[in-house]
Amino acid sequence: MQPQGNFTIVARIRAGATDALRQLLASMNVRPGVVDPANAIVPFTRFPELHFARLVILVDRTADDLRAHGRQPPADPDLLAFLGDCDRSGAQLLDRLAVEAAPGLRRLFAFCEGFDADTDLRAWMQARSLRPAAAYVHYQGRTVVQAAQEAKLRRFLEDWLDANGGRSRSTTELHAAMQEAVAGAVAAGRLELAPLTPMPWSWRLGQTVHFVGGLLVALLSLPVLLLIAPLFLLFLRHREKTDPVVDLPAATDHVAALQTIEDHACTNQFTALGTVKPGWFRGLVLRASLLAVGFAARHVYGRGRLARVSTIHFARWVYLDGGRRLFFASNYDASLDSYMEDFINKVGFGLNLVFSNGIGYPRTRFLVLDGALHEQQFKRFIRRHQLPTEVYYNAHVGRTAVGMDVATAIRRGLEVRRPSPARAAAWLALFH
């Protein structure tokens, strides 16, 4: 097992260069929505530790919504964002990228401000790296290599059951026979299963310190929080009743552009950008909410789900311009409609907590109630803020997050020595 890291590079695009950059990005795709994983600009396949990556042009389509708060929207430059999730720290991956993908990255970043032929690529990327305010990993520790090996193992065992399952045996005999078959295939080099090592001690120590520290801070600030709670609620309710709701349909051509690049495989990308409601109050609530989400993602939900949602592989929330704007990026299974349904029906409270601090969000109550339950308003809000992901790389094409969890459970169950009949039966049910 190995901890996952990520990188987020956000750079200003030179004035007038956005269209040309978009063309270059399009050249990395086989067709819209489907990347050539070995393309010349960023040859993703050379990075076996990379789970997902994307290149997005961040153009704020909803900047004008700020007028609902009686303010003039600033003229923000277009931004290029380069994101990745990997089996090492983001900084380590950038080191490798700066060496092994240098020619392509140089071509790419030449469209950005402050980059020319003499620029130190690594330092330039480092200077434009942003730390997400919160990040979620579906299954902490599972590497790309492990997922691929386990997917193969699952297929191998299914094929074995087809051929050999017919003979009547007890569940434990079947388990033992399957163990033996795998051992044979591994010995013959037909299967590879790298042993699962525990997470490094440094990571575990870091987790513990962060967890205990977080709890301590929460505990210590509890009296103060309780003291200001009534005032906070008063303030919050006032804001919730008076904050303008911007409920506009997403432009037909915008939705069409988004749909063109969706549903080419069972996992999709989602990128959205919006402006935080002006004023200190919403800014503060958002910071606190993302702190809580990040803490929960790191310590509670690292094994197969984010609250009730088990279709998200990786997700992150990133501040832009020192907190004035926020963008969200995720990798999810199935179509956007079913993703939004999961959002609304399973984790509406979590979405409200964070995104109700964004301009135009459907009306909430007490920060977590209603909001996304305004189903159609919420879906319009999502589509309006969503941006087309120009390039999307997925090392797990064809595999869902849950499918990988099943494969991992199959592998772990297989390695159990002499399971009880009940345990063996529960393990076999993973093949149903």
Binding site: R154, E158, L161, D162, G165, S168, T171, L174, P249, T252, V255, A256, Q259, T260, E262, D263, H264, A265, C266, Y301, G304, R305, L306, A307, R308, V309, S310, T311, D333, A334, S335, D337, S338, E341, N345, K346, F349, L369, D370, L373, H374, E375, Q376, V397, G398, R399, T400, V402, G403, D405, V406, A409, A425, L428, A429, L430, F431, H432
Partner: protein, 483 residues
């Protein structure tokens, strides 16, 4: 809540005309809008209030039909985006499984702009009464500026679908009296009674809200007043109407039984057992999991009785908003944060109530008995199958969700390489809907799998229609006169 004006609702919403055993669907295109709409406006459409009608006539319009009638852009924009884009839109096809051999380019109607229907006239009658009436209507239609794109005659209504299963058993119960009142609270239980607004526009849906629909700001229009407080004073063109999904699905009955006969090595009992596992019901309609009627799958979490990927489990997982067994406020709270289930796949599919449809379709083609089905096809094999008709207020959240996320998906409920055993597309690779396998359990514990399932259902055509209320139909058919 106001009781729906049943004189204003087309009868198909209330029932499937089961006493009228013959039916024909006329798909028409508008060639000359003026005479066409004048004639269509005179048609006596049957309403829910006419329970004993001896004939049934229903009218529905596609988006291109509305455009051909001269309905203006402003009004059109009030309709659902899915309806305006149409069923054959490429992004939609990837989700619905209308790819490869099922792609719209190969449909016999509806796949291309020039063979898209504008108007659907559905005729229901007693078997002897249909032909003359149909001929008369067709003749008049062609004299009044309409062209017949295709005439789809159904088989005489019985209770078996072409594969041989008793069909049409489980339908959501319409809440005509408005007893279902939703406020956004989670409901851990599964119910057959569903808010009227899920099937009829202009009434509160399962979120307690009003599904988007066209409104008209003209106090003089002969249309229902909206009861939606957010739009008080407006006239509601959607109210008492709904969206109608029409899919023309050819069923390869021989292919189905011959495939099963082969994998069962000719064992008749095994063959039937496999078919029943794929459907999730016995041939006579009894569910494999639980008792008839209001059953759920809560007692069969591992699919030992009805396989997890069986057809009826996909089409309606029959679950509440939370995994089963989470009663009491503490358990509900824990379940809300994701601690209400222990299995990996225990909470993937939830909240069936948002994804229900009313099925009103009928079969076509000659029936094939099981012994006949095992014989090879003759040279002039007649086609048989289903004219699927589904009614729902939200195409995206209801029909498209059920078809895409549950039936066509090759990854439903944590499964892999497995789309619906009956209606799956069987495309390969990493596509959203790829899957030609079927998993089940036999003898309690032993996992089994069928591979290389052929495609049993082929899409021949399809379109999204709007089934308007009576006053809304008249309003739309006057669109040109009013401009």
């Amino acid at each position: 809540m106001t009781r729906p004006e049943q004189h204003d609702v087309q009868a198909l919403v209330g029932h499937g005309f089961s006493r009228l055993k013959a039916a024909t669907y006329l798909l028409l295109r508008i060639a000359d809008a003026d005479p066409a709409q004048r004639w269509l406006a005179t048609l006596p459409l049957t309403t829910v209030a006419e329970a004993d009608a001896r004939r049934g006539l229903q009218l529905a319009l596609t988006a291109s039909g509305l455009r051909a009638l001269g309905v203006g852009d402003q009004l059109l924009q009030g309709f659902a985006a899915e309806f305006l884009a149409g069923m054959a839109d490429p992004g939609r096809s990837r989700r619905l499984g209308d790819v490869d051999g099922n792609a719209p380019q190969g449909w016999s109607w509806g796949g291309n702009p020039d063979d898209e229907p504008h108007v659907l006239l559905a005729l229901f009658a007693r078997p002897g009464d249909l032909d003359d009436w149909q001929r008369e209507l067709t003749t008049t239609a062609t004299q009044r500026g309409l062209q017949v794109l295709t005439t789809l005659a159904s088989a005489e209504l019985d209770d078996r679908e072409p594969f041989g299963f008793v069909d049409g058993i489980s339908q959501p119960e319409l809440d005509w009296d408005g007893t279902v009142r939703r406020t956004g609270e989670l409901d851990p239980a599964y119910h057959q009674r569903i808010a009227l607004g899920e099937f009829l526009l202009g009434y509160p849906n399962e979120y307690g809200q009003y599904t988007d629909r066209p409104l008209v700001e003209d106090p003089g229009a002969d249309l229902p007043d909206t009861i939606d407080p957010d739009h008080a004073g407006a006239k509601d063109l959607g109210r008492n109407g709904t969206y109608l999904v029409f899919r023309h699905l050819a069923q390869d009955v021989r292919g189905f039984w011959r495939f099963l006969d082969r994998v069962a090595d000719g064992d008749a009992a095994r063959r039937q057992h496999l078919a029943e596992l794929m459907v999730g019901r016995r041939l006579d309609g009894r569910p494999l999991a639980g008792l008839p009627d209001d059953f759920t799958f809560a007692g069969d979490p591992d699919g030992r009785l009805a396989p997890l990927g069986s057809h009826i489990r996909r089409a309606n997982p029959r679950n509440g908003d939370l995994p089963p067994g989470n009663d009491g406020w503490l358990r509900r709270l824990l379940a809300t944060f994701g601690f209400g289930h222990r299995q990996i796949r225990g909470d993937l599919v939830a909240a069936s109530r948002f994804h229900r449809i009313l099925r009103r379709g009928r079969d076509y083609g000659p029936q094939l008995s099981l012994p006949d089905a095992l014989a090879p096809a003759s040279a002039a094999e007649p086609e048989r199958g289903l004219y699927f008709i589904g009614l729902n207020a939200s195409l995206a959240r209801q029909f498209e969700f059920v078809q895409g996320a549950w039936l066509a998906s090759g990854r439903f409920d944590g499964r892999e390489h497995e789309s619906d055993p009956l209606v799956g597309t069987r495309d390969r690779g990493d596509a959203l809907t790829a899957g030609a396998e079927f998993r089940f359990v036999d003898g309690g514990t032993r996992p089994q799998r069928l591979r290389d399932l052929p495609r049993f259902v082929q899409v021949r055509g399809g379109a999204y229609f709007f089934l308007p209320g009576i006053r809304a139909a008249r309003h739309l058919l006057r669109a040109r006169a009013q401009r």
